[in-house]
C-alpha cells in the first residue's frame, strides 16, 4: 500500500534520471523491508522458541503436579523407589548456592572493576582484564573437575576444620558451619559459582564505569572528595542500572549452572542447616538422574524441577526489572 503510493511520483516523472532514481529508491526500499522482516522474524523466533519450551515443560510436568499437587514444591522427600517426589531440597540448594555466590562475587567483582577503571596502572589494566575475561571462557566442566580434585580437598584439609572449630561455640553459626568436613557441599558449590560469575559482574561493571564522563569524576575530585566518595556518590549512582544488569546476568548463570555444581555439591536430596553439608540443586538433580529415570512420575518430576527453575529465573528477572523501574522513578 505505502509502496504503491510512494511509486506514484516516480511514475509521474518521465525523465530518465527520475526513473533511475525511483528504481534505485525502490530497490533500497525492498531491501530495507526485507531486512526489517528478517530482524522481526529473528525476534519473533525467540518468542516462539520460548513459548515452545514453556509448553513442553508444562506438558511434561503435568503428571507430577497431578500426582503431588502444589505440595510438590514444599515437600522434601525424593524417593525414586516409592515414587514420592518433592522439590524443596533442590530449590533450597539452588537458592543457597546462588546466594553464597552472589554475596562473594558482587562486591569483589565491583571492586575489581573499579580498580581496573580508576586506580590500576595502565600497564596492568589489560593483563588483569584479560585474565578476568578468560575466567568466563573456561568450560564449566573444568571448574567442576578442578573443584573436585583440587579445591574440595584443599577446603577439607585447611579451611573447613578451622571454620568448624572457630564457630563451634557460637549459637546459630555453629549450626550454619556444623558437621564433618567433607570438602564438598553447599559452601564449596557456592564458592565455585562465585568464581564462575565473577567475570560477568566484573566485565559489565568495568564497561559501565568506563562510560562515566571523566568531567564528572574530575569535578568531584576537584571538590576534594576521596576516591571512596567519588565511587560511592558519583560512579555507582551513575552506573547502577548497568551494574544491576551485570549482577542479574551473573545470577542467571549461578541459578542454572549444572556440571560444576554437580561435581562439588554432594548431591543429597536433604535440607541441612549447615552449609558444609551436602545438598543438591535443581539443575544438578536433572543432570544426575534424567538418563536413568524409569517411570512416568520420576521423569515428570524431573521436568517439573526444570519448570520450577524457569519460574525462579523469571521471578528474579522480573524483580530486577521492578527494582530498576523503582530506581528510575526515584531519580526523577
Amino acid at each position: 500500500m505505502s509502496q504503491s503510493l510512494a511509486n506514484q511520483p516516480a511514475l509521474a516523472g518521465m525523465t530518465a534520471a527520475a526513473g533511475l532514481r525511483a528504481a534505485k529508491l525502490n530497490r533500497l526500499r525492498t531491501s530495507d523491508a526485507a531486512f526489517r522482516g528478517m530482524t522481526r522474524g529473528a525476534a519473533l523466533g525467540v518468542l516462539l522458541l520460548l513459548g515452545g519450551v514453556i509448553v513442553s515443560l508444562v506438558a511434561g510436568s503435568a503428571p507430577a503436579f497431578r500426582a503431588f499437587g502444589p505440595g510438590f514444591v514444599t515437600a522434601e522427600v525424593w524417593n525414586p523407589v516409592t515414587e514420592q517426589f518433592g522439590a524443596l531440597a533442590p530449590i533450597t540448594g539452588t537458592l543457597a548456592t546462588s546466594l553464597i555466590a552472589m554475596l562473594i562475587a558482587v562486591p569483589i567483582g565491583i571492586m575489581i572493576a573499579f580498580f581496573l577503571t580508576e586506580l590500576c596502572p595502565m600497564a596492568l589494566r589489560r593483563p588483569i582484564g584479560m585474565a578476568i575475561e578468560l575466567l568466563a571462557g573456561v568450560p564449566s566442566i573444568i571448574y567442576g573437575i578442578w573443584g573436585l580434585f583440587v579445591f574440595a580437598p584443599f577446603l577439607q584439609t585447611y579451611v573447613q576444620p578451622y571454620i568448624i572449630a572457630t564457630f563451634e561455640n557460637i549459637p546459630i553459626f555453629s549450626t550454619i558451619f556444623a558437621g564433618p568436613p567433607y570438602g564438598i557441599g553447599v559452601m564449596t558449590a557456592g564458592l565455585i559459582l562465585a568464581i564462575m560469575v565473577l567475570p560477568f559482574v566484573t566485565a559489565i561493571s568495568r564497561d559501565v564505569f568506563d562510560s562515566v564522563p571523566p568531567v564528572m569524576k574530575e569535578a568531584t575530585y576537584g571538590l576534594g572528595c576521596t576516591t571512596w566518595e567519588v565511587f560511592r556518590s558519583v560512579i555507582l549512582p551513575h552506573t547502577r542500572v548497568g551494574v544491576i544488569g551485570g549482577v542479574m546476568l551473573g545470577l542467571g548463570r549461578a541459578l542454572g549452572e549444572t556440571m560444576a555444581v554437580t561435581f562439588v555439591i554432594g548431591n543429597a536430596h536433604r535440607i541441612s542447616g549447615s552449609i558444609l553439608a551436602p545438598g543438591t540443586t535443581i539443575s544438578a538433580s536433572i543432570a544426575n538422574e534424567f538418563t536413568e529415570a524409569v517411570g512416568d512420575i520420576y521423569t515428570s518430576s524431573l521436568i517439573a524441577l526444570g519448570l520450577i527453575l524457569f519460574v525462579i529465573t523469571f521471578i528474579v528477572l522480573a524483580a530486577a526489572r521492578l527494582m530498576l523501574a523503582q530506581l528510575e522513578k526515584g531519580k526523577k
Partner: protein, 348 residues
C-alpha cells in the same frame, strides 16, 4: 547391450545402498557395558564390515528408545519384569557381567584385606554403624586393627545400574533396608554424599579418611582401589574377581525369572561373589524390520562366541557357555518375522 549395462550399474547401486542400509546395527542404553560393546563392535566391523551404532544414554533411555522403536535393540542394567516384557512383546537376554565392589579408605588397610558382609554394609549405609571399630565390623575382621574413624558414606548421585544392583543386594540381605530404602537406579539415601559416576565415587573415597563407597569391579581393579572381601550367601569369604563372578552366574537359576531377568546378587555357591550384576539386551519378538534384528542377533551370537577374551581384557566377565547356548535356543523359538519364521537360524 547398452540397456543391460545400465541395468547392471543400477542393480549394483541398489545392492550397495541396500548393503549400506543394513550395515549399521543400531542400539541404545546402558552405559556400564559400553566399553565392551564398543570393543566388540570394532572387532566385528573388521571381520564382517558391519558396524554398530550404540548410544550409551543410560538404561532408562535405552528402554524408552526400544519402546519407541527408534533402535533395533535396547540395553539395560536392570531387567524388565516379565509382565512388562509380555505387554511390550520384547525378548530379553543377558549379554555380559560385571560386579560391584565396596571400596574403603582406611589407614593401614590394603586392598582385599578388610572383610564385610551384606548385613553390615546395609547397617553402614543406613547410618547405624558410625565408626569403623564398631563391634559388627570387628567381629568379621579378627586380627585387623580397625581405626576409630567416623564412617563417611559415598554413593552414586547419577541414576545407575550399579546403584540398582547394589541396593538390590542390600534389600535381599536386610529386611530393614528393604523397608526403609528399597531398590532402584537412584534411592533416597539415609546418609552420606553423592558423587557422579564411578570416578566421582572413587575420588571422594580417596580424599576422605574413613570413606566407604561402591564402584564397578573393573573400575576398582584398573585404578587399584582398596576393595574389600565379602562374605557370601554360603557364609564363605570371597575375593572379587573373574572366577567368583562367573561362579555366581553359573550357580544362578536363569529360568526362575522371565527373560533371564535374574539379578545375580546373593547367589548360592561357595565361591560366588555376592554383588554380581549382568546387563541385558532387549529386542522385539516380532520385529517390523526382521533383517535388522537378524543382523543384531548375528552380532550378539558372534560376541558370545568370540567376545569372552576381549571382555576379560576389560575386566568384564563373559556369560557362561550354558547360558549363551540357551539364549540361542530362545532366539530360534521366540523371535519370528512377519511370516512366523525364526529370524535367527542356528546354522548361521
Amino acid at each position: 547391450m547398452k540397456f543391460s549395462k545400465i541395468f547392471l550399474i543400477a542393480a549394483t547401486l541398489a545392492a550397495t545402498s541396500a548393503g549400506a542400509m543394513a550395515a549399521d546395527i543400531s542400539g541404545a542404553g546402558a552405559t556400564f557395558p559400553y566399553p565392551i560393546y564398543a570393543k566388540w563392535a570394532d572387532a566385528y566391523k573388521k571381520e564382517t564390515g558391519i558396524g554398530l551404532n550404540y548410544q550409551s544414554i543410560g538404561s532408562g533411555g535405552g528402554i524408552k528408545q526400544i519402546k519407541a522403536k527408534t533402535v533395533t535393540f535396547g540395553a539395560s542394567d536392570a531387567p524388565l519384569p516379565g509382565k512388562e516384557l509380555d505387554e511390550t512383546g520384547l525378548a530379553q537376554f543377558p549379554m555380559v557381567m560385571g560386579a560391584i565392589v565396596p571400596v574403603v579408605n582406611l589407614d593401614g588397610i590394603k586392598p582385599g584385606e578388610l572383610v564385610l558382609d551384606g548385613a553390615t554394609i546395609a547397617k553402614l549405609y543406613l547410618g547405624e554403624i558410625k565408626k569403623w571399630d564398631d563391634a559388627a565390623i570387628a567381629k568379621l575382621n579378627p586380627g585387623v586393627k580397625l581405626p576409630s574413624t567416623a564412617v563417611a558414606l559415598v554413593y552414586r548421585s547419577d541414576g545407575s545400574g550399579t546403584t540398582y544392583n547394589f541396593t538390590y543386594y542390600l534389600s535381599d540381605v536386610s529386611a530393614e533396608w528393604k523397608a526403609k530404602v528399597g531398590t532402584n537406579t537412584a534411592v533416597q539415601w539415609p546418609a552420606g554424599i553423592g558423587a557422579k559416576g564411578n570416578e566421582g565415587v572413587s575420588v571422594n573415597v580417596a580424599q576422605t579418611k574413613g570413606a566407604l563407597g561402591y564402584v564397578e569391579y573393573a573400575y576398582a581393579k584398573q585404578n587399584n582401589l582398596t576393595f574389600t572381601k565379602m562374605i557370601n550367601k554360603a557364609g564363605k569369604t570371597v575375593m572379587p574377581g573373574s572366577a567368583s563372578i562367573q561362579a555366581a552366574a553359573a550357580n544362578a537359576d536363569w529360568h526362575s525369572q522371565p527373560g533371564y531377568g535374574v539379578i545375580l546378587a546373593n547367589q548360592p555357591g561357595d565361591s560366588s561373589w555376592p554383588m554380581t550384576a549382568a546387563t541385558w539386551i532387549l529386542v522385539y519378538k516380532n520385529p517390523s524390520d526382521a533383517s535388522a534384528v537378524r543382523e543384531a542377533l548375528k552380532f550378539f551370537s558372534w560376541a558370545y562366541a568370540k567376545g569372552p577374551k576381549m571382555a576379560e581384557d576389560l575386566d568384564y566377565v563373559p556369560m557362561p557357555k550354558t547360558v549363551s547356548a540357551d539364549v540361542h535356543k530362545m532366539w530360534v523359538s521366540e523371535i519370528k518375522d512377519s511370516s512366523g519364521k525364526p529370524v535367527f537360524a542356528l546354522t548361521n
